[in-house]
């Protein structure tokens, strides 16, 4: 190595390594059909139990449509939303994709989604509640079809909670009741009562709505102030300091799969989640879990609401609009598919299927159905679809709370940071 060439060699190697900085982002792949079959790609987020059922239903679809092969893929919500964003912008979105309420605005206006109104002949929507169906419309065009109805819940280890001797959660409990129960659970079980809800934008929304406020205004501005957020974070941070909810080290591990939650890891007695994905906890708590309503505001105002738990959309770039529409129709309207899928994505949206299957629902599907029935009619109207910036703000919310729970910032300072970031995000 030592020699007169070393320096020049060194410099050019350095220059090459530098270029790698800027050439980081690559292209996209292309799906090609094999054996003369039409190949569809279908992707969703969810826990493994949902994947098992979905793959069963897809197998039945393939049996009915021998010319179609469906490639499925799933991941946790966090990973899914990043992957889909990259695929969508590269024009490589899956033919059929599961979408969240948060994504519809952005994807529809970005030209990622196919107008499903044009596929009416194959994709029937007449048996879906018109109000619910309209949540999949952007500027009057049906870009996505709701696939289920969900609401938030306090999910808990039924056996452990009973054994602790703390009275079971009851309808109409308030956030103060909830906090008292978490303290009591921590005292009797020796571990935190629940996951710290401070990092969860959804939980904050329920709390906020319980006070008659909302995350976003009708004009897509922020519906709350730094004072509101400071109060929420002071509340949850206080509980964390008392040991009533999970410590920062556990809270920070949440990533969209139930397996990372303190409840599933045996480090807490309760959690809050959406009702349908709560079935994922059964793999970790075989003795059984139960669902309770989310706490309401001090005056009894309920904060939780029914929202379309997820949507199905078809890529505008699909080469197989017909087959994609058939798959969507099958997943929503086929009786056999409904039997397989149960309530893994929420209670079915097809009214006649729902009525038919309601009595046949078993196990956890029945738990979800009963839970929804128990709160049905008492909840307030859902908010409109969140503005597109909300997609990024969900992560920002979690990050800013990390600063609070690791005691690196006061709730006030972190809340002010969040408001600044949120305003910038919503403006752009």
């Amino acid at each position: 190595m030592p020699g007169h060439r070393t320096k020049g060699f060194c410099a050019s190697a350095a220059a090459l390594a530098l270029c790698a900085v800027l050439a980081g982002c690559g292209g996209s792949g292309e799906s090609v059909g094999g054996g003369g079959k039409v190949v569809l790609r279908y992707a969703w987020w969810g826990n493994p139990d949902r994947a098992a059922l979905t793959n069963q239903a897809v197998a039945l679809f393939e049996k009915r449509h021998p010319n179609v092969q469906v490639q499925t893929s799933y991941s946790s919500y966090d990973a899914y939303k990043q992957k889909l964003a990259v695929q969508a912008t590269g024009g490589d979105a899956p033919d059929v994709m599961q979408l969240d309420y948060r994504q519809i605005n952005q994807y529809a206006s970005g030209g990622v989604l196919l107008d499903l109104g044009k596929q009416k002949a194959l994709l029937h929507t007449s048996e879906i509640d018109q109000g619910l169906l309209a949540t999949g419309k952007v500027d009057g065009t049906q870009y996505a079809i709701p696939q289920g109805r969900g609401t938030e819940t306090v999910v808990y280890d039924a056996k452990a909670w009973k054994a602790s001797g703390v009275p079971l959660p009851h309808k109409g409990w308030t956030w103060d009741d909830w906090a008292d129960d978490m303290r009591a659970l921590a005292k009797r079980t020796g571990k935190p009562g629940a996951t710290d809800p401070g990092q969860n934008e959804d939980a904050f929304e329920v709390w906020l709505r319980g006070q008659g406020k909302s995350l976003y205004t009708k004009a897509n501005g922020l519906g709350f102030t730094a004072d509101d957020l400071t109060r929420w974070w002071t509340f949850t941070d206080g509980l964390r300091r008392e040991g009533a909810v999970s410590p920062a080290e556990q809270t920070t591990q949440l990533a969209g799969f139930v397996e990372n939650t303190p409840l599933a890891r045996g480090k807490a007695t309760a959690d809050n989640n959406w009702d349908a994905p709560s079935s994922g906890f059964l793999a970790f708590i075989p003795t059984g879990i139960a669902l309770a309503p989310m706490p309401s505001g001090e005056d009894g105002t309920p904060g939780q609401y029914f929202k379309p738990s997820m949507f199905l959309g078809v890529s505008a770039n699909t080469g197989h609009a017909k087959e994609s529409a058939e798959l969507v129709d099958f997943l929503l309207n086929d009786r056999d598919a409904a039997k397989i899928l149960g309530a893994t994505r929420g209670i079915p949206v097809n009214e006649s299927i729902r009525k038919e299957t309601e009595s046949q629902l078993k196990d956890f599907d029945k738990t979800i159905s009963d839970y929804q029935a128990s709160v049905d009619g008492t909840l307030k109207d859902p908010p409109q679809a969140p503005p597109s910036g909300d997609n990024a703000l969900q992560s920002t919310f979690q990050r800013d709370y990390d600063q609070v729970s690791y005691e690196r910032m006061s709730p006030r300072k972190a809340a002010e940071n969040y408001i600044t970031e949120a305003k910038a995000e919503l403006r752009s």
Binding site: G3, A14, A17, L18, Q106, G110, A248, S428
Partner: protein, 314 residues
């Protein structure tokens, strides 16, 4: 052993003497370009073009879905004046570079010295120590790393401090250790450099009564300094661009409490999570300029401590 089987050395003298000794310059360059073409094409299409596009995007507001909108220097001013998280990522990256690079180079040098003095089994150990560099770049190792350093993981069970990856003060150390563990490439280069140091220098030093340490400081270090410099520059550049270990160990979020939010991870977050491609591009260009500046400074200081044997001869 016969060398007569190889015809090449005798081929040229047999050529007709009328032919020019060397082909015209232009023709020789043409052939060079033909052989270079795959690389040149790749460099233009996959490196230079994306670089040009990213330079343009850095002056725009681009959310991936709508067409880019020209906003001039807005991304840059926002970065420097309105984004506290940006500055946190800068501090995190600098901390990482300062921890990881010296540790990695020191370890590489120590192992290379040990290997050099080995009598047998050198090839085996060289491969064994290089293996992590081949594995380490992969996502799977990073995930294993996360499991090892998580609460309830191996390190937690041994040391009992509750899992480094969930402690803001320790998580960056876990990331740095993953890099340090991949010391194979600098080690192999050190080893090559060590083997080129003439043995007579050591013999002469030994005759003069120099001990091992004196030999190391007075012969090994100066003779190895060009290689040391080469490794230092390359590893520094790579360390500034660290992404995979930080991404995997923090589950893609740079947590806990932004403690592993290195520059490129924040860049990724802005670009692919928050869909601000213009801002992310601007960040990439600032990174390029900063690494360029740091490299230039390293080159400048090298004059005072890097010893080139050939220059000494002159």
């Amino acid at each position: 052993m016969t060398t007569t089987e190889i015809p090449a050395p005798t081929a040229r003298p047999k050529r007709p003497t009328a032919a020019p000794k060397r082909r015209p310059k232009r023709e020789r360059e043409g052939a060079a370009w033909v052989f270079l073409s795959p690389w040149v094409l790749g460099a233009c299409v996959l490196t230079l073009l994306p670089m040009a596009v990213s330079l343009y995007l850095s002056f725009t507001d681009y959310n991936l879905f709508d067409p880019p909108r020209w906003i001039g220097l807005r991304n840059y001013t926002q970065m420097f004046t309105e984004d506290p998280r940006y500055w946190r990522s800068v501090v995190t990256t600098l901390t990482y570079v300062v921890i990881a690079v010296p540790l990695q180079l020191a370890l590489a040098l120590v192992v290379a010295l040990a290997l050099k003095s080995m009598k047998s089994g050198k090839a085996f150990y060289r491969s064994a120590f290089y293996a992590p560099s081949l594995l380490g770049a992969s996502m799977s190792i990073a995930l294993v790393w996360r499991a090892v350093f998580n609460d309830g993981g191996t390190v937690d069970n041994l040391v009992g401090n509750g899992g480094w990856v969930n402690k803001p003060g320790w998580s960056l150390v876990a990331v740095a250790l993953l890099t340090v563990w991949q010391f194979g490439a600098p080690m192999v280069i050190f080893l090559a450099g060590l083997q080129q140091i003439p043995a007579e220098l050591y013999e002469a030093a030994a005759v003069d009564g120099a001990g091992k340490w004196r030999q190391f400081m007075s012969i090994t270090v100066p003779m190895l300094s060009p290689v040391l410099f080469f490794n230092l520059v390359l590893q520094t550049i790579q360390a500034f661009q660290v992404f995979t270990p930080a991404f995997a160990i923090s589950g893609g979020r740079g947590g806990p409490a932004d403690s592993t939010l290195v520059y490129t991870l924040y860049l990724y977050d802005r670009g692919f999570v928050a869909s601000h491609m213009g801002y992310a591009s601007a960040m990439a260009w600032v990174l390029l300029l900063v690494i360029g500046a740091v490299t230039a400074v390293l080159f400048r200081t090298s004059r005072s401590w890097v010893f080139y044997a050939s220059e000494g001869d002159r």
